[in-house]
């Protein structure tokens, strides 16, 4: 399933906000038990900070990492690209 990150804002910052979005995503993803991929689509997101990304992506990996692949799409701006590259290592 594809989740459009722009729905959470164009500036995604802070660890508590990342946690909140992760919890929201758990609700969304749990309704699609057959989906093998979780695609985070960052089209339109202009700023992503490491705190937000770390909390979100590692919360998703901890919960679904073994059964579902987490993919990133449309990381367009340099801050989003660099942050994703750092956090996904």
């Amino acid at each position: 399933m594809t989740i459009k990150m722009i729905k959470f804002g164009i500036l995604l910052n802070s660890r508590p906000a990342g946690k909140e979005v992760a919890l929201r995503m758990f609700q969304m993803i749990n309704g699609f038990i057959d989906e093998k991929e979780i695609i985070l689509d960052f089209a339109g997101v202009e700023i992503l900070t490491p705190s937000f990304a770390d909390e979100l992506i590692h919360s998703l990996k901890d919960k679904y990492g073994e059964e579902r692949k987490i993919k990133i799409e449309n990381a367009e701006t340099p801050t989003v690209k660099d942050t994703i590259a750092t956090v996904m290592i």
Binding site: G9, L11, N13, S14, R15, P16, A17, E46, I47, L48, T49, P50, S51, D54, H58, T77, P78, T79, D82, T83, T86, V87
Partner: protein
């Protein structure tokens, strides 16, 4: 409202506008906003519940030098500082403020159970490699300055908490 939420809201409504009004290009303005955002996140992530006094929050000062296209941005807090955050880490806790700042800059975090520390690594990458800039961190009695030539450290007057500053050249 949670004080961290207030910071987050002002990052978008005020700080970002300041950088835009300086005339920075989109990519530079986004990175500068993210730099202030990440430094501010650290203030709240490391101090909530353990503030040194009853004063909470951060002071953010941004100075623009339009003729040479240079920005200095400072995020200051009266919190526990790098040493207070890292003194409990295993197996080699820092012995001084300078040790603690250097560990923080290497990506070591004092928050147990979380993979973190990426923030300061990315802040250094953006500031030094992409903006050809400088980072100054004064925490407790330690001062560490990082630029493309490496790190310089010194013992300075002791302060409560941390002053984290980045100086960047923009286009």
């Amino acid at each position: 409202m949670n004080i961290g939420d207030e910071f987050n809201a002002r990052l978008e409504s005020r700080i970002r506008k300041i950088f835009k009004n300086f005339g920075m290009k989109d990519a530079d303005e986004q990175k500068a906003t993210a730099l202030v955002g990440e430094l501010g996140n650290n203030v709240f992530d490391h101090n909530e519940g353990v503030w040194s006094t009853d004063v909470r929050g951060a002071i953010i000062i941004i100075q623009n030098y339009p003729e040479i296209k240079k920005i200095e941005a400072l995020v200051a807090d009266p919190g526990i500082g790098f040493f207070g955050s890292l003194r409990g880490i295993e197996p080699d806790p820092p012995l001084t403020d300078i040790d603690a700042i250097k560990l923080g800059l290497q990506g070591i975090s004092g928050r147990v159970g979380e993979r973190r520390g990426n923030g300061l690594l990315l802040i250094q990458d953006w500031t030094i490699n992409q903006f050809n800039g400088i980072i100054r961190i004064h925490s407790g009695s330690g001062l560490v300055v990082v630029d493309k030539n490496g790190q310089k450290e010194s013992n300075v007057n002791k302060i409560l908490g941390t002053l984290a500053e980045f100086v960047v050249l923009y286009k």
